[in-house]
Point group: D2
Chain length 179, copies 4
């Protein structure tokens, strides 16, 4: 391993390294469905991000990202929420490590799995109440807080990137509001 530099142990990968690793192993991801809760804990709104992808059009998504080397799942949730909703979002990271579901993304077509052209990813999905001020960051055009009914509407589902319509419906179902 003499050809591995000490800083390779750090969590951030160069584009080439990331490209290499993605051809070797599945990547650990987290998906976060941000929600607004009523004072009694019941679901008020589900947050979605509208982005403008390079290939044009609009794409709706929830918060999603990689777990870095030496990073805990709990830290990754906080980091990705702040990255997408800003540092004033005050996310309430779940007390339990159990995700409400696990979704698998493959670069090739796999029945009943989702598609990610970049990689094979296994993603732990969490519902995270947001208590502070959230605003769309970076490349996101808009943060839309949808009612539970809107979040499972076919039109909204049609705008979602692969897997994220299932995350929205799954989160609404898990919170007992699928109607």
């Amino acid at each position: 391993m003499s050809d591995v530099r000490a800083d390779d142990l750090g969590p951030w990968l160069s584009p080439d390294d990331l490209d290499l690793v993605r051809r070797k192993v599945p990547m650990v991801y987290i998906d976060v469905v941000p929600v607004r809760l009523d004072v009694d804990g019941s679901l008020l709104r589900v947050g979605t991000l509208l982005r403008s992808p390079r290939e044009g059009g609009l794409a709706r998504a929830v918060i999603s990202g990689r777990v870095l080397l030496h990073e805990s799942v709990r830290t990754a949730i906080t980091r990705h929420v702040e990255k997408d909703l800003g540092s004033m979002a005050l996310p309430r990271v779940p007390a339990s490590p159990q995700p409400f579901t696990v979704q698998e993304y493959f670069p090739t077509a796999v029945p009943h799995a989702f598609h990610d052209p970049r990689q094979h990813a296994v993603s732990l999905a969490y519902i995270v109440p947001i208590e502070g001020d959230a605003t769309a960051q970076r490349d996101a055009i808009q943060l839309a807080w949808l009612t539970p009914e809107e979040a499972v509407d076919p039109a909204v589902r049609g705008e979602c990137v692969s897997g994220h319509a299932a995350l929205l419906s799954g989160a609404v179902a898990h919170l007992g509001r699928l109607g």
Copy 2:
């Protein structure tokens, strides 16, 4: 990427490649607690494997292993159960992708996380009923079917590799038999 051979896309890694990847990203693992159920679904026994590690002594563990590139979690569960309990074990892979817990293993000491000197791993833990004939395979010395009470006994816990005592207790708790 011209230096990546076509067969690098396959799921099996050379020792060097695995060593390299482990310095770059967390690895996706599954942990499987094998159980025997009564006809009414209630827990009868919890399976553990006794191994003789290179460093001497005895180590108790449940079934554990890596998810390969392009392999589904469902397939990985079946593969690792057959690898450890044989091809006649007839595992009943859970219908839901939701693990009963997620455990994190780090090569360094991290509070409230578990230890794996080889790597950072994020492991999805499932309870899998075994319906067929199971026998310890390969390097395992013995498959022991413990009562729920035995599975959480301090002496048994003391024999477990890092994280696996928590898996045993967590599985027994999840099945409502922690007493």
Copy 3:
């Protein structure tokens, strides 16, 4: 309590007693979504019952019923499955007591709760794989095994009694097949 006869301790209630109790306390119910699984545990079909209610028309429902005095939830699941699908259904009662959701039914209109004109009921919902031969019993006209896609179709949902469309969608979501 001298006016309480010894046989009042038995689980079966006279219509008058049941009527009385329903005006005093919420009733414990179970809802069971019967499913057919593939050999690898993935969801193939979701079972629904078509009934012809007294008030006319057709109503679609899953398996549902009361937990009796001194009866365990596990026994109630088995009893209600056999009552609706026959004694050859071979239900696999879940190993864990944790329901995938809890639904509440009220005789009055309550936001985000379901309606049962007879009573206030708190119902524990379980997904139960069926391994044997199941046939609609008693007052059920038909047992229909739907694909996951059919089970969440708006037309099917529209035929369901209160709460049971949510049970179907919730079960499909919990099994990772909400698409």
Copy 4:
């Protein structure tokens, strides 16, 4: 039903009515394990109440109580937390209706079930973070905030009323801190 007075429809029962109903049907209960969380959502402390029961000695328990007629589970959780921890406790009622476990209590000895001499009860167990000031109310002598390790200590378990040692261990396991 002419002999049922209008006010019988209210949720509160007279001692005689409660006695009668308990001989007819199982009662719907909730068990609440109060917890203190760190800012990143990880478990800091588990709350238990020390009581002095009529029969002498000391008994340790978590929060527990009946769901009333026409009362939602969500409202029952809030009401029982305030009853035991005071009106400044600021409980965070879970967003999901799914309990982390369900425990059954019987007046007679039933294997792997718990004991309640008063009744057959089916109890939905929830973990509820407490954010405000909590103080033992009414008949409770002390509210003790235990570390996760203390909460599963055999000495503490030995002080618990039937079923509540299992609730403590089960909650700690569900939050990934069973060690």
